[in-house]
Symmetry: C2
């Protein structure tokens, strides 16, 4: 039986490197940049006014008071037609290019415009004016040809704005994986049905789809497969057209657990079955490398997870193992689950023959992070996880963890 | 001029309470529940096997060893047909209902099935068996009629799974606001064009759309409006059909800043114009309460923000002010921006005549949170924000902040 570390190693070793695809900039939020970006322009593209006011020569207004002659007006989007000579001023709007000769902008609030004479007069009464005041020089933020973003950068709004400044309305990112979700089991009924004796609702599909969506994948729900070979095989075939296929249920040791044998029949090579972890021991992982008839250049194979059917087992395995595969495909570093350290809020006794991921609530503050263990009845008790924002990892064995012990926590 | 606090108060006072709408469960991630949810079933719905194995009477296997007679087999989705009497055992699958009479499950790994006799024999050789072993009792996680989720709960995967267990394939959530984004200015060209002298690309649309998407709204990009009344008015009218309308540019004091007057002409009541904040001073906020011809019952009006055109000004105003309106419409608490405290990593001197929101990089660890000020050239320097994951707030005035000073940080 693999340890968690061995299982994660195997997933990272098997899952192919991420594949770049070009998407519209508006669909790139949260994806990872797959190309280096050099700016094709200076930003700002010219010496730019940062205020509405008058472009002047600072030497004309060192005292903060002056009367200058009005030269012309430059709106945003226009270009100055004349240089500002000593004793002159050009009306300028925020964002407009500074005229030649000018080296400062006086804000409009400190000026009065008097057009009784010809030329009109700009009377200035404010603080002493210094060279560069209320101006942003061409290329201060970014110079043409400068590297502005590196391949591997996750795209947030500020990176998306920077890409737009650099003229990229399409951008190469690592492809968002499509993740098929197939619940298996004769005991399952759709969510909108009332379960009869022996039946339960297929809650895993909705939960897993939300986990995949949150993690940056595109969920593809495939409904319920019955514990019957032909039905299962057909739906597995459909799922293998996606980048990942998650099956829930059907991987423990029972007689009707057809999933592993049907996956192998469909050409999926088993990489591991069972992991020393609680919940989630029956986890199955395999790889389908067949070329596809509907060959998508992005689709290099399908990575298949057989998740245990109990909801918290499915959820935990998705967080630890499936998300590792997703991070690899999405180009997100680090690929392994990232634990954060937090101090246990209260003493807690834990006992288990496998490492246990237990729902927990973490709080952060100026002075550090703490974690509280939430009450939890085991792998069928999904409701308990609604009081949690992560899981704390207890090693195998029995121990009393005193308040203040530093624990590894995996935030959800 | 309003302070930031006065502006936030005004936004919260003006924006209507959130409106509930029923959506498919699969579209609810990140939205806030707008109804209380009581479970319509016990979870588990019956005493349930947690392992594949044999349902037994614990009293028959107190030593861990026994030979029991084989009664029947219950698959998941089936119901037991016979009670387990002393000396008998029923084969049971994970998730299947426990037969009457049985009070424990022995895992299949500790058993041997011998069908040479009639009835067949189940030989058990493992640890002593206790009452309740490998069983989850009916209703342990949730009892029928029990409140499982309260109105106001943000929906994460575990809440979505819990809603599915409770039979909700549709759920009442607070409506996801549609947010129109309209960039204004003759100096703007689309992202895919090469700016000519005096022009810049419309990078704000892409950036604001990503900010809105990340914050849970649905961005509706409206392109570029020219500094010309008829064109601006037509696009403002289109934007007013959304829940929010963001205009970028055109709200500072320049002669061509038509936006405030055109908004008022379109029946938008100004609530405030200008806020004592840097960047972002020219911010404009107003409300359109007109009834709409294409009356959408969810659409109670439109809240209009005139954002300054410089990219970092737009970004910061969106984070502080627009997101407050979005949280109000989405039912997210608290509605005001939530500062976290972090200690300054290095000494920093700051000077400004208004409270300043400065790009900064925050790090969290076991021992607390620290924040570093990133190099930033002002409101046109968007690229600087790609090195930041939030902004630190400096009060107005000049001061030296020593390393270790506790600062308010607003994460992005």
């Amino acid at each position: 039986m693999f340890t968690v570390e061995q299982a994660l190693d195997a997933i990272i070793a098997e899952v192919a490197a991420p594949v770049a695809a070009r998407v519209p900039l508006g669909e790139s939020l949260g994806l990872v940049l797959a190309e280096d970006i050099d700016s094709d322009v200076d930003t700002p593209p010219f010496d730019k006014a940062l205020m509405d006011g008058y472009a002047v020569r600072a030497a004309d207004v060192t005292s903060g008071r002056a009367e200058l002659r009005f030269l012309e007006e430059v709106m945003a989007g226009q270009v100055p037609t004349r240089a500002v000579e000593p004793g002159w001023a050009t009306r300028i709007m925020t964002g407009a290019p500074l005229p030649a000769g000018a080296d400062a902008v006086v804000r409009v609030e400190d000026t009065q415009f008097r057009d009784s004479k010809e030329p009109a007069v700009v009377a200035i009464d404010g603080a002493p004016v210094t060279v560069g005041q209320s101006i942003m020089r061409q290329g201060t933020s970014t110079q043409r040809g400068q590297r502005v973003l590196n391949s591997g950068t996750p795209l947030r709004p500020q990176e998306i704005g920077t890409l737009a400044e650099s003229g990229r309305d399409q951008v190469a990112v690592y492809h968002r994986p499509r993740v098929a979700i197939l619940a298996t089991g004769d005991e399952l009924v759709p969510v909108n049905e009332i379960p009869q004796p022996g039946q339960i609702r297929n809650s895993n599909e909705s939960m897993l789809a939300a986990q995949i969506q949150r993690a940056g994948g595109e969920p593809v729900p495939l409904g319920i497969a019955r514990d019957e070979r032909a039905n299962l095989r057909e739906r597995i075939e459909a799922g293998l057209a996606c980048d990942l296929l998650l099956l829930s249920g059907g991987v423990s040791a029972g007689k009707l657990d057809l999933v592993p044998s049907e996956l192998q029949a469909a050409g999926v090579r088993q990489v591991f079955h069972k992991v020393r972890v609680k919940p989630g021991k029956p986890l199955w992982f395999g790889v389908s490398e067949r070329s596809k008839k509907d060959a998508n250049p992005i689709h290099k194979g399908c990575y298949v997870f057989g998740l245990p059917g109990n909801p918290v087992s499915s959820m935990v395995c998705c967080e630890i193992f499936v998300r590792t595969a997703l991070r690899r495909l999405l180009g997100i570093e680090p690929q392994r689950p990232l634990a954060v350290s937090a101090r246990l809020e209260h003493e807690y006794r834990h006992q288990g023959n496998r490492p246990t991921y237990h729902p927990a609530q973490m709080e952060s503050s100026l002075t550090g992070r703490t974690v509280s263990i939430v009450s939890w009845q085991g792998s069928s008790d999904l409701r308990a996880t609604t009081a949690a924002n992560g899981m704390v990892c207890f090693p195998a064995g029995e121990a009393v963890y005193s308040a203040g012990t530093v624990m590894d926590v995996y935030p959800w």
